[in-house]
Symmetry: C2
Subunit: 146 residues, 2 copies
DNA sequence: CTAATGTCTCTAGCAACTATAGCTTCAAGG
DNA sequence: CCTTGAAGCTATAGTTGCTAGAGACATTAG
Protein backbone atom coordinates (compact mmCIF):
# COMPACT_ATOMS: atom_id res chain seq x y z
CA UNK A 1 0.00 0.00 0.00
CA UNK A 2 1.46 3.27 -1.13
CA UNK A 3 0.85 6.74 0.19
CA UNK A 4 -0.15 9.28 -2.39
CA UNK A 5 3.37 10.70 -2.47
CA UNK A 6 5.00 7.35 -3.24
CA UNK A 7 2.36 6.59 -5.81
CA UNK A 8 2.96 9.89 -7.54
CA UNK A 9 6.68 9.38 -7.50
CA UNK A 10 6.33 5.90 -8.96
CA UNK A 11 4.11 7.06 -11.79
CA UNK A 12 5.69 10.43 -12.39
CA UNK A 13 2.50 12.26 -11.50
CA UNK A 14 2.21 15.10 -9.03
CA UNK A 15 0.25 14.54 -5.87
CA UNK A 16 -2.52 17.09 -6.50
CA UNK A 17 -3.00 15.60 -9.93
CA UNK A 18 -3.73 12.20 -8.41
CA UNK A 19 -6.28 13.73 -6.08
CA UNK A 20 -7.75 15.50 -9.07
CA UNK A 21 -8.04 12.25 -11.01
CA UNK A 22 -9.76 10.65 -8.07
CA UNK A 23 -12.09 13.61 -7.76
CA UNK A 24 -13.24 13.41 -11.36
CA UNK A 25 -13.64 9.65 -11.09
CA UNK A 26 -10.72 8.54 -13.27
CA UNK A 27 -9.21 6.78 -10.30
CA UNK A 28 -11.41 4.94 -7.78
CA UNK A 29 -11.66 6.39 -4.30
CA UNK A 30 -8.65 5.14 -2.40
CA UNK A 31 -8.84 3.32 0.88
CA UNK A 32 -7.87 5.38 3.88
CA UNK A 33 -5.47 4.82 6.76
CA UNK A 34 -6.48 5.32 10.36
CA UNK A 35 -5.36 8.92 9.97
CA UNK A 36 -7.46 9.46 6.82
CA UNK A 37 -4.59 9.30 4.37
CA UNK A 38 -5.01 7.60 1.01
CA UNK A 39 -3.56 4.13 0.59
CA UNK A 40 -3.25 2.77 -2.92
CA UNK A 41 -2.67 -0.75 -4.06
CA UNK A 42 -1.38 -2.32 -7.25
CA UNK A 43 -4.49 -1.76 -9.24
CA UNK A 44 -4.53 1.98 -8.70
CA UNK A 45 -0.86 2.07 -9.60
CA UNK A 46 -1.42 0.36 -12.92
CA UNK A 47 -4.42 2.47 -13.65
CA UNK A 48 -2.46 5.63 -12.96
CA UNK A 49 0.37 4.43 -15.17
CA UNK A 50 -2.07 3.93 -18.02
CA UNK A 51 -3.54 7.37 -17.49
CA UNK A 52 -0.14 8.98 -17.39
CA UNK A 53 1.04 7.22 -20.49
CA UNK A 54 -2.10 8.03 -22.43
CA UNK A 55 -1.84 11.68 -21.38
CA UNK A 56 1.74 11.70 -22.65
CA UNK A 57 0.41 10.45 -25.96
CA UNK A 58 -2.02 13.34 -26.02
CA UNK A 59 -5.26 11.53 -25.27
CA UNK A 60 -7.86 13.68 -23.54
CA UNK A 61 -9.13 12.65 -20.13
CA UNK A 62 -12.44 11.85 -21.76
CA UNK A 63 -10.78 9.43 -24.18
CA UNK A 64 -8.85 7.93 -21.30
CA UNK A 65 -12.04 7.47 -19.37
CA UNK A 66 -13.36 5.42 -22.29
CA UNK A 67 -10.16 3.42 -22.60
CA UNK A 68 -10.22 2.62 -18.91
CA UNK A 69 -13.79 1.44 -18.97
CA UNK A 70 -12.86 -0.78 -21.90
CA UNK A 71 -9.89 -2.23 -20.09
CA UNK A 72 -12.22 -3.05 -17.22
CA UNK A 73 -14.12 -5.45 -19.50
CA UNK A 74 -11.40 -7.63 -21.02
CA UNK A 75 -13.83 -10.00 -22.72
CA UNK A 76 -15.23 -7.36 -25.06
CA UNK A 77 -14.09 -6.49 -28.52
CA UNK A 78 -11.01 -4.47 -29.09
CA UNK A 79 -12.65 -2.41 -31.81
CA UNK A 80 -13.65 0.49 -29.60
CA UNK A 81 -10.15 0.89 -28.18
CA UNK A 82 -8.76 0.68 -31.66
CA UNK A 83 -11.14 3.40 -32.80
CA UNK A 84 -10.12 5.71 -29.98
CA UNK A 85 -6.46 5.24 -30.78
CA UNK A 86 -7.09 5.83 -34.47
CA UNK A 87 -8.98 9.00 -33.71
CA UNK A 88 -6.09 10.18 -31.59
CA UNK A 89 -3.68 9.35 -34.39
CA UNK A 90 -5.76 11.37 -36.83
CA UNK A 91 -5.82 14.24 -34.36
CA UNK A 92 -2.06 14.14 -34.02
CA UNK A 93 -1.55 13.94 -37.75
CA UNK A 94 -3.70 16.94 -38.41
CA UNK A 95 -1.97 19.00 -35.75
CA UNK A 96 1.32 17.92 -37.21
CA UNK A 97 0.34 19.14 -40.65
CA UNK A 98 -0.80 22.42 -39.27
CA UNK A 99 2.30 22.96 -37.17
CA UNK A 100 4.47 22.22 -40.18
CA UNK A 101 2.77 25.02 -42.09
CA UNK A 102 3.14 27.36 -39.13
CA UNK A 103 6.81 26.58 -38.88
CA UNK A 104 7.36 27.43 -42.52
CA UNK A 105 5.54 30.71 -42.10
CA UNK A 106 7.39 31.67 -38.96
CA UNK A 107 10.69 30.85 -40.60
CA UNK A 108 9.86 33.07 -43.53
CA UNK A 109 8.93 35.84 -41.15
CA UNK A 110 12.10 35.57 -39.10
CA UNK A 111 14.43 35.25 -42.05
CA UNK A 112 13.00 38.31 -43.72
CA UNK A 113 13.46 40.48 -40.68
CA UNK A 114 16.37 42.69 -41.54
CA UNK A 115 16.66 44.14 -38.06
CA UNK A 116 15.65 47.70 -38.85
CA UNK A 117 12.94 49.64 -37.08
CA UNK A 118 9.42 48.49 -36.39
CA UNK A 119 8.10 50.55 -39.25
CA UNK A 120 9.62 48.16 -41.76
CA UNK A 121 9.60 45.04 -39.64
CA UNK A 122 8.53 42.05 -41.65
CA UNK A 123 7.28 40.26 -38.57
CA UNK A 124 4.69 42.89 -37.77
CA UNK A 125 3.95 43.42 -41.42
CA UNK A 126 3.29 39.79 -42.16
CA UNK A 127 1.16 39.43 -39.07
CA UNK A 128 -0.89 42.41 -40.17
CA UNK A 129 -1.59 41.04 -43.58
CA UNK A 130 -2.36 37.42 -44.17
CA UNK A 131 -2.12 37.80 -47.92
CA UNK A 132 1.64 38.04 -47.50
CA UNK A 133 1.65 34.45 -46.34
CA UNK A 134 2.83 31.61 -48.48
CA UNK A 135 0.65 28.97 -46.91
CA UNK A 136 -2.89 28.95 -45.71
CA UNK A 137 -2.56 28.20 -42.06
CA UNK A 138 -5.94 29.35 -40.93
CA UNK A 139 -7.38 27.35 -38.04
CA UNK A 140 -8.92 24.47 -39.98
CA UNK A 141 -9.89 22.33 -36.98
CA UNK A 142 -10.27 22.63 -33.28
CA UNK A 143 -7.24 23.51 -31.25
CA UNK A 144 -6.12 20.96 -28.71
CA UNK A 145 -3.04 20.95 -26.49
CA UNK A 146 0.26 19.18 -26.94
CA UNK B 1 -17.86 52.24 -38.72
CA UNK B 2 -18.65 48.58 -38.25
CA UNK B 3 -20.91 46.91 -35.75
CA UNK B 4 -19.33 44.12 -33.79
CA UNK B 5 -21.01 41.53 -35.97
CA UNK B 6 -19.61 42.92 -39.22
CA UNK B 7 -16.22 43.34 -37.64
CA UNK B 8 -16.21 39.74 -36.53
CA UNK B 9 -17.31 38.53 -39.92
CA UNK B 10 -14.61 40.56 -41.63
CA UNK B 11 -11.86 39.22 -39.41
CA UNK B 12 -13.17 35.70 -38.95
CA UNK B 13 -13.54 36.14 -35.20
CA UNK B 14 -16.62 35.37 -33.18
CA UNK B 15 -18.49 38.23 -31.58
CA UNK B 16 -17.97 37.18 -27.93
CA UNK B 17 -14.27 36.79 -28.66
CA UNK B 18 -14.06 40.41 -29.77
CA UNK B 19 -15.76 41.54 -26.61
CA UNK B 20 -13.36 39.36 -24.67
CA UNK B 21 -10.37 40.95 -26.39
CA UNK B 22 -11.70 44.36 -25.54
CA UNK B 23 -12.28 43.32 -21.97
CA UNK B 24 -8.72 42.15 -21.47
CA UNK B 25 -7.38 45.26 -23.15
CA UNK B 26 -6.08 43.74 -26.38
CA UNK B 27 -8.48 45.90 -28.31
CA UNK B 28 -9.20 49.48 -27.24
CA UNK B 29 -12.65 50.26 -25.90
CA UNK B 30 -14.85 50.86 -28.92
CA UNK B 31 -16.90 53.97 -29.41
CA UNK B 32 -20.59 53.53 -28.80
CA UNK B 33 -23.65 54.40 -30.83
CA UNK B 34 -26.59 56.29 -29.35
CA UNK B 35 -28.02 52.90 -28.37
CA UNK B 36 -24.80 51.78 -26.66
CA UNK B 37 -23.63 49.46 -29.40
CA UNK B 38 -19.97 49.20 -30.28
CA UNK B 39 -18.76 50.96 -33.42
CA UNK B 40 -15.34 50.08 -34.74
CA UNK B 41 -13.20 51.90 -37.24
CA UNK B 42 -10.32 50.92 -39.47
CA UNK B 43 -7.76 50.83 -36.75
CA UNK B 44 -9.63 48.30 -34.65
CA UNK B 45 -10.16 46.22 -37.75
CA UNK B 46 -6.46 46.07 -38.54
CA UNK B 47 -5.62 45.39 -34.96
CA UNK B 48 -8.07 42.52 -34.82
CA UNK B 49 -6.68 41.12 -38.05
CA UNK B 50 -3.21 41.11 -36.56
CA UNK B 51 -4.46 39.41 -33.42
CA UNK B 52 -6.33 36.80 -35.38
CA UNK B 53 -3.40 36.08 -37.62
CA UNK B 54 -0.96 35.81 -34.76
CA UNK B 55 -3.34 33.49 -32.90
CA UNK B 56 -3.47 31.32 -36.00
CA UNK B 57 0.29 31.16 -35.92
CA UNK B 58 0.12 29.98 -32.32
CA UNK B 59 1.23 33.12 -30.51
CA UNK B 60 -0.20 33.48 -27.03
CA UNK B 61 -2.30 36.52 -26.18
CA UNK B 62 0.56 37.69 -24.01
CA UNK B 63 2.99 37.56 -26.92
CA UNK B 64 0.44 39.34 -29.07
CA UNK B 65 0.05 42.02 -26.46
CA UNK B 66 3.80 42.62 -26.72
CA UNK B 67 3.74 42.63 -30.51
CA UNK B 68 0.90 45.13 -30.53
CA UNK B 69 2.64 47.47 -28.15
CA UNK B 70 5.69 47.26 -30.40
CA UNK B 71 3.68 48.04 -33.50
CA UNK B 72 2.30 51.05 -31.68
CA UNK B 73 5.81 52.52 -31.57
CA UNK B 74 7.04 52.21 -35.16
CA UNK B 75 10.23 54.17 -34.58
CA UNK B 76 11.72 51.62 -32.21
CA UNK B 77 13.98 48.72 -33.03
CA UNK B 78 12.65 45.61 -34.63
CA UNK B 79 14.76 43.37 -32.41
CA UNK B 80 12.06 42.73 -29.83
CA UNK B 81 9.51 41.68 -32.42
CA UNK B 82 12.09 39.47 -34.00
CA UNK B 83 12.83 37.86 -30.66
CA UNK B 84 9.17 37.12 -30.03
CA UNK B 85 8.82 35.51 -33.44
CA UNK B 86 11.96 33.47 -32.92
CA UNK B 87 10.73 32.25 -29.55
CA UNK B 88 7.48 31.26 -31.16
CA UNK B 89 9.35 29.42 -33.88
CA UNK B 90 11.36 27.49 -31.30
CA UNK B 91 8.14 26.64 -29.48
CA UNK B 92 6.58 25.34 -32.68
CA UNK B 93 9.64 23.31 -33.54
CA UNK B 94 9.71 21.60 -30.21
CA UNK B 95 6.03 20.78 -30.36
CA UNK B 96 6.58 19.45 -33.83
CA UNK B 97 9.32 17.12 -32.64
CA UNK B 98 7.16 15.83 -29.85
CA UNK B 99 4.15 15.28 -32.05
CA UNK B 100 6.27 13.37 -34.51
CA UNK B 101 7.28 10.94 -31.79
CA UNK B 102 3.69 10.61 -30.64
CA UNK B 103 2.56 9.89 -34.15
CA UNK B 104 5.10 7.09 -34.53
CA UNK B 105 4.00 5.51 -31.28
CA UNK B 106 0.31 5.76 -32.07
CA UNK B 107 0.90 4.23 -35.46
CA UNK B 108 2.75 1.32 -33.94
CA UNK B 109 -0.09 0.86 -31.49
CA UNK B 110 -2.79 0.93 -34.11
CA UNK B 111 -0.99 -1.29 -36.58
CA UNK B 112 -0.33 -3.96 -33.99
CA UNK B 113 -3.94 -4.17 -32.93
CA UNK B 114 -5.20 -7.39 -34.42
CA UNK B 115 -8.81 -6.72 -33.57
CA UNK B 116 -9.34 -9.45 -31.01
CA UNK B 117 -10.71 -8.93 -27.54
CA UNK B 118 -9.62 -6.33 -25.04
CA UNK B 119 -7.65 -8.94 -23.14
CA UNK B 120 -5.03 -9.04 -25.88
CA UNK B 121 -5.46 -5.57 -27.25
CA UNK B 122 -2.16 -3.97 -28.09
CA UNK B 123 -3.58 -0.51 -27.60
CA UNK B 124 -4.48 -1.11 -23.97
CA UNK B 125 -1.36 -3.16 -23.41
CA UNK B 126 1.00 -0.55 -24.74
CA UNK B 127 -0.77 2.17 -22.82
CA UNK B 128 -0.39 0.14 -19.66
CA UNK B 129 3.32 -0.33 -20.11
CA UNK B 130 5.55 2.42 -21.36
CA UNK B 131 8.48 0.04 -21.71
CA UNK B 132 6.75 -1.40 -24.77
CA UNK B 133 7.28 1.91 -26.49
CA UNK B 134 9.90 2.51 -29.10
CA UNK B 135 10.36 6.19 -28.45
CA UNK B 136 10.58 8.23 -25.32
CA UNK B 137 7.67 10.57 -25.65
CA UNK B 138 7.35 11.60 -22.07
CA UNK B 139 6.15 15.16 -21.55
CA UNK B 140 9.44 17.00 -21.91
CA UNK B 141 8.21 20.59 -21.87
CA UNK B 142 5.12 22.57 -21.16
CA UNK B 143 2.07 21.92 -23.24
CA UNK B 144 0.69 24.77 -25.27
CA UNK B 145 -2.28 24.80 -27.61
CA UNK B 146 -2.43 24.50 -31.37
C1' DC C 1 9.52 14.94 22.18
C1' DT C 2 10.08 17.89 18.75
C1' DA C 3 10.72 19.40 14.23
C1' DA C 4 10.24 18.56 9.60
C1' DT C 5 7.93 16.69 6.18
C1' DG C 6 3.74 14.71 4.21
C1' DT C 7 -1.09 14.70 3.79
C1' DC C 8 -5.82 16.43 4.31
C1' DT C 9 -9.79 19.58 2.48
C1' DC C 10 -11.26 23.55 0.24
C1' DT C 11 -11.02 27.34 -2.67
C1' DA C 12 -9.28 29.99 -6.35
C1' DG C 13 -6.50 30.60 -10.44
C1' DC C 14 -4.35 29.76 -15.30
C1' DA C 15 -5.35 30.25 -20.87
C1' DA C 16 -8.48 31.50 -24.17
C1' DC C 17 -12.32 31.40 -24.95
C1' DT C 18 -17.64 29.61 -25.12
C1' DA C 19 -22.30 29.45 -23.44
C1' DT C 20 -26.24 31.03 -21.05
C1' DA C 21 -29.77 34.28 -19.30
C1' DG C 22 -32.32 38.20 -19.59
C1' DC C 23 -32.48 42.37 -21.37
C1' DT C 24 -32.36 46.39 -25.18
C1' DT C 25 -31.70 48.15 -29.83
C1' DC C 26 -31.93 48.08 -34.68
C1' DA C 27 -33.51 47.27 -39.57
C1' DA C 28 -36.98 45.68 -42.62
C1' DG C 29 -41.70 44.46 -43.97
C1' DG C 30 -46.58 45.20 -43.82
C1' DC D 1 -46.46 53.46 -37.42
C1' DC D 2 -45.85 49.09 -35.70
C1' DT D 3 -44.30 44.69 -35.20
C1' DT D 4 -41.14 41.07 -35.53
C1' DG D 5 -36.80 38.90 -35.65
C1' DA D 6 -32.02 39.42 -35.69
C1' DA D 7 -28.30 41.40 -33.52
C1' DG D 8 -26.52 43.80 -29.62
C1' DC D 9 -25.79 44.59 -24.51
C1' DT D 10 -24.05 42.99 -19.59
C1' DA D 11 -22.90 39.67 -16.32
C1' DT D 12 -21.96 35.23 -14.80
C1' DA D 13 -20.52 30.57 -15.15
C1' DG D 14 -18.54 26.70 -17.66
C1' DT D 15 -14.76 24.38 -20.35
C1' DT D 16 -9.88 21.36 -19.94
C1' DG D 17 -6.30 19.73 -17.12
C1' DC D 18 -4.35 20.80 -13.98
C1' DT D 19 -1.57 24.07 -10.24
C1' DA D 20 -1.16 26.96 -6.12
C1' DG D 21 -2.41 28.47 -1.74
C1' DA D 22 -4.30 28.39 3.10
C1' DG D 23 -4.75 26.25 7.35
C1' DA D 24 -5.18 21.95 9.87
C1' DC D 25 -3.89 17.10 10.92
C1' DA D 26 -0.60 12.73 10.40
C1' DT D 27 3.62 10.58 10.24
C1' DT D 28 8.45 9.89 10.70
C1' DA D 29 13.53 10.87 11.76
C1' DG D 30 16.55 12.25 15.06
Amino acid sequence: MLTIGKLGEAAGVKVPTIRYYEQIGLLPEAERSAGNQRLNGHKAQERLALIRHARDLGFTLEAIRDLLSLSDRPDQSCAAADAIAKAQLAEVESRLARLTALKAELERMVVQCAGGSIADCRVIEVLSDHSLCATDHRHPESEVPS
